[in-house]
Symmetry: C2
Subunit: 199 residues, 2 copies
């Protein structure tokens, strides 16, 4: 995919939050950069400060923590979604988790520095504040649902809903990562799948 196609996908993606006229877009795109990750390459590692927020134009990544030497996958992002170690990016603190490409992945990136410059750019400031607000609000809603699921649902219920609403991720993501995402062990997910098949 060439840069023009990536930019098009990106403009489409950001339009969910804010739209630019052609003049603004011209300026805005000067602050963007491009990158790619090969499979298993890390975008973020524990202990560093995350300097970019990204839009994924192709591929998939997983977010994971290491606890007692074990990797625990907490989330995934796919093409046409955003990716960042937000807490580290926003607060400029050391990252506490890892982000790793699960497939060959292509990115459009905004650096923290460039974001600050845009927030001070007279032509872009208001829209960038709004973009920052709306994307943060978007994620709040996602998180709210996710916490609610942990509070109100059993692992089995969470699995059944995931299987209904995002069947495709089982074709795309190793099952033991999905188990972590559901808050259980891979062995337990295997049992749940067997159980729910029989019913």
């Amino acid at each position: 995919m060439d840069k023009q196609a990536q930019l098009k996908a990106f403009r489409n993606g950001i339009a969910q939050f804010v739209t630019f006229n052609d003049t603004e877009w011209e300026v805005f795109t000067q602050y963007l950069s491009f990158s790619s990750l090969s499979k298993k390459e890390h975008f973020a590692v524990e202990g560093k400060v995350c300097d970019y927020m990204c839009f994924i134009t192709r591929g998939a990544v997983r977010y994971y923590h290491i606890k007692d030497g074990q990797e625990i996958t907490g989330y995934f992002s796919f093409e046409n979604e955003w990716m960042s170690a937000y807490k580290s990016f926003l607060k400029r603190t050391h990252n506490t988790n890892y982000i790793q490409a699960l497939e060959e992945t292509a990115l459009v990136m905004i650096s923290y520095q460039n974001l600050q410059q845009m927030l001070n750019h007279p032509l872009l400031a208001l829209k960038m504040e709004r973009f920052g607000r709306l994307i943060a609000e978007y994620y709040i809603c996602c998180y709210e649902d996710r916490v609610t699921a942990f509070i109100t649902q059993t692992p089995e219920e969470r699995y059944i809903i995931l299987e209904k609403t995002a069947k495709d991720i089982f074709q795309r993501i190793p099952q033991h990562f999905i188990a972590n995402f559901l808050g259980i062990t891979p062995v337990s997910l295997s049992r749940i799948r067997k159980r729910t098949l029989l019913q």
Copy 2:
């Protein structure tokens, strides 16, 4: 507490995100309103659209869902914290949970309508966008930690950490609500407490 004292606490609270000069503050405060909740009174109920975001100047509330006829408490907010059914407030959708006062509670409120007016007010727009962005980012970080806790920690570990970092809530909140918050049943929390005492 009179309105002046509440406003002072509020100004202090919002200063975490954005500061107003006296002229701006003058205008800003015209968009605020005040309210209070008696113990057990609801601020938000399932099925309605939440029209306010609030700053709690006194008291405490709990957020809960009803599942299979049972109340499940997912979160608490206390004085000098913000409170809203954010997802409903932001998206203008029907609320899926309840917010109820646990104590006599006093609030400073911003209605959705007034917030929109401020976002269009030349003197306030940029700061309100920024406020919206920063408070949303603040909550993202909280949620990120909360999800990570569910993914990486056992209920017992979550209890021990809560006991260390927020011991006072055990003096203030009924234990069976805290159990829900930790993702377990009241009976299970009682067992965990016994277990961890003996060790």
